[in-house]
Homo-oligomer: 137 residues x 2
Amino acid sequence: MLNTITLTRKERDCIVLIGERGTSDFPLRLIEVANRMNVKPPTALNLIKRLVAKGMLKRERGMLRLTDKGKAECSRIIESHRVIETMMARYGLSADEACKLSCNLDFVMDEESVNRIFTELGKPKVCPHGKKIEVVQ
Amino acid sequence: MLNTITLTRKERDCIVLIGERGTSDFPLRLIEVANRMNVKPPTALNLIKRLVAKGMLKRERGMLRLTDKGKAECSRIIESHRVIETMMARYGLSADEACKLSCNLDFVMDEESVNRIFTELGKPKVCPHGKKIEVVQ
DNA sequence: GAATAAAATTAGTATGATGCTAACAATATG
DNA sequence: CATATTGTTAGCATCATACTAATTTTATTC
């Protein structure tokens, strides 16, 4: 069963970007999202508006912050991402390849499936390459 | 590295459908592709035209056949599909869940990565559920 | 072979995701 | 305050997906 919350790939990338790099001290702004995603501000704005409409994101004086729902979704994605990545790495894929492929699955996989793989793998805390998840390819 | 031939998800489904069920005795026709993909004939036609343009498919008196290129691509996808599925099933996913998730990866994964997982798994000949690959969800 | 049925095709339209430029507005910063 | 930065709007474009309605083509059947 796939996850009920439907995100597009770019929405997924945006949530992970904001969730990963936007600490409470330094929340991201539109211009930074645009730059990091290699798109122009109007494109980023469009994406951001969709995430706001989906209840994932809130904007306060230009600052972009995930809502609780957005944080939960982001955590789920990152957890799924690491699980999938780790599984693939154990089967001989390079960390980068595993990461890229994982981005195609992490946001569509349901929690139950992730948990089942978790029990087999042990919960990995970091990516196989030890770096942060690269959201923008 | 992702595969250089870029297919959309529906193109992937269509190639696999034709490759799997279209034997040389009974090649599929447009109407059957439409029915099996649960779309109307014009939608199927559009898809088919794109695959013809990409050199994956040829049409002979209404019969749809994969070209050599299409056959190679289809084989690659199916092989990748089974490898990914088997890997996931070994980590506790149900056959159906593994199949669904695998459909998101099988057509974007490059041969080298597939082969690396192959060496770890042993080349599986069938899906974990022993059924044909379900292309249309 | 003509009539009918089935299949294929065209034309037109729609939606959603992604992306852009150009212009303008709002907000900071010096 | 002037300038620079940032955000926003409007308008447009492309691609994938999908539809209906109408027409044409191809098969089948009488």
